[in-house]
Assembly symmetry: C2
């Protein structure tokens, strides 16, 4: 139905090829393969994605995004399966982006998790997508945000982003969501590892999963203590929840806490402000990537500065300083540039 609104003249204006216009119409008509295709284009950084994404972006808004992160073995995938069920129980369409740090030639463990998700795949109201961490750093965070936007525009009211919380890129991915769950499990030093990886600083909710294992209560106490130490600013105090995702114990209460965090954000007007800030971050990533390619490759400054350093006599900062001096003198202020642009 929604697809019909997209006029053919508007397609041409937006620089869409006829094939892309067909893809977009299928997507807005609810075609799952079109949705999958758009996410693939985002993942591959395909140039044809840009005008498509801008059209998708105009329909973004309704989806609430939850990031789920934690060390390997914490049972994140099973927990995500439970959250899918909770979302479905409330009649929402659910989208999942699983960021998978699998290297090209291995990856047995996570593949197992994905197989467990197959059950969810038989439900038309659930869309699960796995993305690899290959490629550039900023690239993954950018592609994951775009995949979430695609799922949002596809009508997913509930969007879950799952990552192994180890690297900065994965950190960036979950930080782009509305509510961040950090999942821990009882076991040798896991709490400490998670804290070391800087996960506590981004958590809105802390989950001690596998709560049926020995050491769960102790871990919950340790996490509470670490939260005290962290002395987080702001009015939201991250609750610590215990779940056993395999049996479903505590996952209903967890979902209720996620909803409470959303209500907190919406009441304070914080949701819109945070989303604008995260949106600006995404925009910078897109801009940086283009900027880097244009300045270093297209304009040839990458080769020029390497040559200047090889030439000897000057240190790296002197070479870079000269490069920045050239940029500075060539580039007008943003405001001046806007004015002279006639806008």
């Amino acid at each position: 139905m929604r697809g019909r609104e997209v006029g053919r003249s508007a397609d041409r204006e937006a620089g869409l090829t006829p094939a892309d216009a067909v893809l977009l119409r299928a997507f807005f008509a609810g075609d799952r393969r079109a949705c999958a295709r758009l996410i693939t284009l985002a993942e591959e950084g395909d140039p044809s994605f840009s005008p498509l994404y801008d059209r998708v972006f105009a329909r973004v808004g309704g989806g609430l995004r939850t990031g789920v992160t934690g060390p390997p073995g914490s049972g994140k995938s099973t927990l995500v399966d439970r959250l899918i069920e909770e979302g479905r129980r409330r009649g929402r369409r659910v989208g999942v982006v699983a960021v998978d740090p699998t290297s090209p030639f291995t990856g047995g463990a996570l593949l197992g998790d994905r197989l467990r998700m197959k059950a969810a795949l038989e439900d038309e109201g659930v869309f699960v997508r796995s993305m690899a961490t290959r490629g550039s750093l900023g690239g993954l965070a950018k592609a994951a945000v775009e995949a979430c936007d695609v799922l949002d525009a596809f009508g997913c009211g509930e969007i879950l982003v799952e990552t192994v919380g180890v690297g900065q890129a994965e950190h960036d991915v979950v930080s782009a969501t509305d509510t961040v769950l950090v999942v821990l499990h009882p076991g040798a030093g896991d709490g400490v590892q998670a804290m070391k990886a800087g996960l506590m600083e981004i958590a809105d909710l802390l989950v001690v999963n596998k709560s049926d294992l020995p050491g769960a209560d102790r871990l919950a106490v340790d996490v509470e203590a670490a939260l005290e130490l962290a002395g987080r600013r702001g009015e939201w105090r991250p609750p610590v929840l215990k779940t056993a995702a395999t049996t479903g114990e505590g996952t209903g209460a967890l979902f209720a806490e996620i909803e409470r965090h959303r209500a907190f954000l919406q009441e304070g007007g914080g949701l819109e402000a945070a989303r604008r800030r995260k949106r600006a971050e995404h925009l910078r990533r897109v801009a940086e990537e283009g900027m880097r390619a244009m300045i270093f490759e297209e304009k040839g400054y990458g080769r020029a500065i390497a040559r200047a350093l090889d030439g000897g006599g000057r240190g790296p900062y002197a070479v870079v300083g000269e490069f920045l001096g050239r940029l500075r003198s060539s580039l007008p202020e943003a405001d001046a540039s806007e004015a002279s642009d006639g806008r």
Copy 2:
């Protein structure tokens, strides 16, 4: 002795303050506190570091750099202690940069490792430095490379860089060294985890540490098989070595293999080529950081593109496309710019 070569007029030319000139002279005279201070300035991204680094950079060259990475618990720190001993036995000054992913408010585990290194600190020929992963992504890799350069200019012939091999930033840190050791240990799924994190692709040597534990032989076989699968290009086939760092078993043979890798690089002329490439990568990181700050903050384009997106009507790529168009038309080609610069 070397400090005397640095003339006072040259100090002024290089834009050094009198205090910085004193610091630099102390550094070149072998003062350990001056060395520590320079690394702190690099770590903090202090603006005063730039002219100092350029002077340090001119003395870089002799140090051979080994990156040591692997999952937590693999015994990297103890192995690094052994490699320090091997370097000292050969009469070399040894520098260690330990990149520590400790969040500000915790970090018991790694602190323990650092305490073990205290023994090494009592030897004047060893310089150990720990760096935190706080701050920006690219920032850490940049600071770690600069710390290695400082140690190199300080006369360390043997430089060891230790990281927990989990994130892209840590990955970048070890990738900047000449020889990369990936350390694994027998235990639940550790080999698989390491392979997933993309560590196999950067390994020049694979070490199965804690070889006295059950499962070590099996892990070594698995790693060999994974290497087959990886089908790495190039003539160097990463060897798999077994060590027990706590007893020192196999660490002499490991050092011999590190030396064999160096000889391989030097014979093929690959060492210089690889170093030039890594040097250019570092230069780009320095340039990118300055470029980002200048364009987004100083020139105001960050605010301008966020405002343009908030204004509505256009998607992110359209907004960024316009921004890049302005950059493109304002900025001359690097070669043209060099010519007009009169160089």
